[in-house]
């Protein structure tokens, strides 16, 4: 949903490999109509949300727009609740993505060394990734339910934690973070394993002959070779981390006492509980800016890897 300049201006349509005929190449006839549809799907809502953010939008008897200039914007930059939600989102983001990266790389290194059953182990590790996040959240609620939950029971019996996990301010955020980590660490494992598979085996063998131990090989050969893949994994995960908020919605929905209220949850309640849609649009644009920045870094890395031509 970013503004862009489509096609070149003027006579710059220097399409290659087209077999003449009518002037417009087949490539363009295949590309342009689909891009027009995508423009309807993405640019239209994009400009619309900008317009919404400049209005007080009401849903009472129909939809009414009241032009309000930058009111929503000035309000957003002084709103402590929204500020706190951004701070919490940053914490949630760093904790989930950070843990997923560390665990994912570690598990990938272990799986890579397996001699027997590597494919089976990988397939089993990947399972959570295919699950609907909403089901992961509901399953998390089930497991941590203070009366019937398996994990709540185990923690209680071990004397580690005896209160309601999702209902207690100190444990709710770690619990939803772990649910996210459970679901998405497999993605990092999968991507990093692909990177490890492409490390030059001869160099590894040569290093072994020269007496380099595992950690030295990791530090001087493996790490530099998989650095690019690890960064791709980080970016892909980062873009999705700000996209989804399903797990929190169905577990705590921001509670208890706002401890899990990250920015998309706040946006959602602003829009659909307080029906302050113009203000929610301003918050949404703030999130959009973030994801466009990440996407920008992603495309730059693709280009440096020679993959986006």
């Amino acid at each position: 949903m970013a503004v862009t300049q489509t096609e070149g201006r003027g006579s710059s349509g220097d399409t290659k490999g087209s077999a003449g005929g009518g002037g417009i190449s087949l490539e363009m006839r295949m590309l342009v109509p689909v891009l027009l549809l995508l423009a309807v799907l993405s640019l239209f809502p994009f400009f619309y949300i900008i317009w919404m953010s400049l209005n007080i939008v009401s849903l009472i008897n129909g939809i009414s727009f009241d032009f309000a200039g930058l009111t929503n914007w000035t309000r957003m930059f002084t709103d402590e609740i929204v500020g706190a939600a951004w701070a919490r989102a940053a914490l949630y983001f760093v904790a989930t993505v950070g843990l997923e990266m560390i665990l994912g790389i570690a598990i990938a290194l272990l799986v890579h060394e397996l001699v027997w059953g590597k494919n089976l182990v990988l397939s089993l590790i990947l399972l959570p990734m295919f699950m609907a996040p909403v089901i992961v959240g509901l399953l998390g609620r089930f497991l941590t339910d203070s009366s019937y939950g398996l994990y709540a029971y185990v923690l209680r019996e071990l004397g580690i934690f005896e209160r309601d996990i999702l209902g207690t301010a100190s444990s709710a955020l770690p619990a939803v973070i772990l649910m996210d980590v459970w679901e998405w660490t497999p993605l990092i494992v999968l991507i990093v394993l692909a990177g490890l598979a492409s490390v030059n085996q001869y160099v590894i063998e040569a290093a072994k002959v020269d007496g380099a131990n595992y950690l030295e090989r990791l530090r001087y050969i493996v790490a530099p070779s998989i650095a690019g893949v690890v960064i791709v994994a980080l970016l892909v995960r980062s873009m999705d981390a700000i996209r989804y908020f399903d797990i929190i919605t169905v577990t705590t929905n921001g509670g208890p006492g706002n401890t899990t209220k990250i920015i998309p949850i706040r946006l959602y309640e602003t829009a659909f509980r307080f029906f302050d849609l113009g203000y929610a649009a301003a918050i949404g644009l703030g999130m959009l800016v973030f994801s466009i920045l990440v996407a920008n870094v992603f495309v730059r890395i693709l280009e440096s890897r020679g993959l986006a031509r």
């Binding site: 862009t4 490539e27 609907a132 399953l139 693709l302």
Partner: protein
């Protein structure tokens, strides 16, 4: 792999498997517990200590379909996810090929626009779409959900198919054209069959993304268009936490996606990294 395992002593392997056993325990226990609970009779469900041995029952599945209207929700999910996938992949093949084989100024801006459309936060897209859908009367309808899913599936499909077509040397199509094929035949008969793995992977990922969607359906769907994830979430509030039924619906939602997902495991990396990392 086995040839280079000279340094891998059996002792190291034992430790490896021990650690990975713990990883698998952490990964699999919730899933196994969900499947187990879906066959567990109500009484065993309401025990305060976990019950592992019980007489399996289909009661939760039966009551979901008889009293819970699950058949209709299932159909809604299939229609919304299915149509959005077919449309996205078909158009994605056309545009992905067009993008891969054409060179024009500003191409990288177009690419960036496509990828940032795919990456836009759902919460930010839902808002304007909600108002627009109200105007054009697409709320609470399957076509509405299909359009909503296209907002992320279409850019995804274009992007991935572009990556697969870019990998394909144009010389094959040029050779076909020398042999008398038209430009379109070169695409349809030569290039398209060669990217079959890419098409299948793209289709399966589109299917998984839309089948698993909660945020769009929660905002746009109503009684006529409720999908499975919404039904699951509502079960939780309406009937006072019926964990048996919830486990059953969870199993129904999750199982098909696990099967199709693992079926294309070799190509997943390519799709999930948006073409940036090539798999095995």
């Amino acid at each position: 792999m086995t040839t280079s395992s000279s340094g891998r002593s059996s002792g190291t392997q034992v430790i490896l498997y021990a650690i990975l056993f713990l990883v698998l325990l952490w990964t699999l226990v919730p899933i196994l517990w969900m499947v187990l609970s879906s066959f567990k009779p109500g009484v065993a469900q309401l025990s305060s200590t976990p019950v592992f041995v019980f007489k399996p029952t289909m009661q939760h599945y039966v009551s979901l379909f008889t009293g819970g209207n699950l058949g209709a929700y299932f159909l809604n999910s299939v229609l919304a996810a299915g149509f959005s996938t077919v449309i996205a992949v078909s158009l994605g093949c056309l545009a992905g090929y067009g993008l891969a084989r054409s060179h024009f100024r500003g191409k990288r801006h177009v690419a960036f626009w496509i990828i940032s459309t795919r990456m836009a936060p759902i919460a930010a897209i839902v808002l304007p779409l909600f108002i627009l859908f109200r105007y054009v009367d697409l709320l609470d309808s399957i076509p509405g959900l299909i359009v909503a899913y296209l907002t992320f599936n279409l850019p995804f499909a274009i992007w991935i198919m572009n990556a697969f077509f870019t990998d394909l040397p144009p010389s094959l199509e040029e050779a076909a054209m020398v042999d008398g094929a038209t430009r379109f035949q070169a695409f349809y008969r030569v290039a398209l069959p060669l990217v079959t793995p890419g098409i299948v992977t793209t289709a399966i990922l589109c299917l998984v993304f839309s089948w698993n969607d909660y945020a769009f359906a929660a905002t746009f769907a109503g009684p006529n268009s409720q999908t499975l994830p919404i039904a699951a979430a509502q079960l939780n509030t309406q009937t006072g936490l019926n964990w048996g039924q919830l486990s059953a619906i969870g199993t129904i939602v999750v199982l098909p996606m696990i099967i199709v997902g693992l079926a294309v495991r070799r190509y997943l990396v390519r799709g999930l990294t948006l073409g940036a990392v090539t798999g095995e």
